[in-house]
Subunit: 218 residues, 2 copies
């Protein structure tokens, strides 16, 4: 079927399509973003977002998953499409239309695999260097996006392990919003939301008393 009619749109131009992923991670109570040092032209040696070109045999979501997996080895992570950037000269080498995604991954136990072909590094979110093309803008837009989402949708849990304490969860919120929250009000809201389930165990890694662990409800 496809080949029978594939000349219908023959007169229209085609474009390179890429995804650029803003990969957020959380550790040491801070929010990080994964960047790679480009080992190819143009702008070789500069830092950039995690990106790659769309293949014929995949959709954009699959492309974003693949790109993140190739770099981190993590699959089944939280990924969401954001905006599509199409300025004519945004990439100086060629016309490329790029779809931005954000990813949330848990860094508590994660170490970057060293067997990749890339130099990758986690940057604290307010220490992002100058990036290629429009990548700084992509990060800023994605930050705005997750800030507005975190109050309405349960995305923060993707940055933590399956079991987490309430103080840790609050740290995630504070890191994303970059403001400190009231402990009592935070707990009240979280518990009232019904999103979390209290467990028996305690996490004693960050206090002598220990903090009860919770898990995310479906």
């Amino acid at each position: 079927m496809k080949t029978q009619v594939s000349n219908l749109y023959a007169s229209y131009p085609k474009f390179l399509l890429s995804v650029d992923c803003i990969v957020f991670g959380f550790k040491e109570n801070k929010l990080f973003c994964l960047l790679i040092k480009r080992n190819f032209e143009p702008e070789i040696g500069k830092w950039s977002l995690v990106g790659g070109f769309l293949n014929e045999n995949e959709n954009l979501n699959q492309c974003a998953s693949r790109v993140v997996f190739d770099l981190t080895g993590l699959d089944k992570i939280y990924l969401e499409q954001l905006e599509t950037y199409s300025e004519i000269n945004r990439d100086w080498a060629d016309r490329v239309v790029s779809v931005s995604y954000f990813a949330l991954i848990n860094l508590e136990l994660f170490e970057m695999p060293s067997n990749t072909n890339y130099t990758a590094k986690w940057f604290e979110i307010n220490e992002i260097p100058e990036l290629i093309f429009d990548h700084n803008k992509m990060i800023n837009n994605s930050l705005q996006n997750i800030r507005s989402k975190i109050g309405k949708f349960p995305i923060a849990f993707s940055l933590l392990s399956e079991r987490f304490s309430l103080p840790k969860l609050q740290n995630v919120y504070e890191a994303i919003l970059s403001e400190s929250l009231d402990k009592r009000n935070f707990r009240k809201n979280m518990l009232a939301s019904g999103l979390i389930k209290k467990l028996e165990e305690k996490d004693k890694t960050s206090s002598k008393k220990g903090a009860y662990l919770y898990s995310f409800n479906q």
Copy 2:
């Protein structure tokens, strides 16, 4: 510069890129969506969103403006990018990645120009027929989107003339949300928002008493 390095990405595939616009209009206290009857293959004769392919010399916003202008003759309308659809077989003729946009236009005084090459028709929002490809999904997603936006951002004014009465504005909100609102609370909120400025004149077209006209503040 561009041509010097344009072989860097030579090994990657290229794609047809289109925009599909959900063009909303408001008249007779109802929300409408503009659809066209396709006069080209595939799916000739079926209804579809207003769409077109991206050209080399434009970005996606410009493409969306052009596509809407070609059909309605209106420029400088409110346009906003939504999602990008990339399922491999979403278009049966060829692989096409499509970026959806929504547009809001004022239909009170507008008549569709008859000199276009298309058959275009306004459909009331809950009488949308079956459309080609994933266009019904696009409309549903865009509806959700503007419903969540209308309470936070001043997008409703784009559906009305420069001067409008509060009852008319309320009708816009009710049509978009498809629920009826309390008159007193609605006015209270609108006036408190500071977004509108009361004028001296009244609109007498829909009542004997007449309703004061307001204008949108920048």
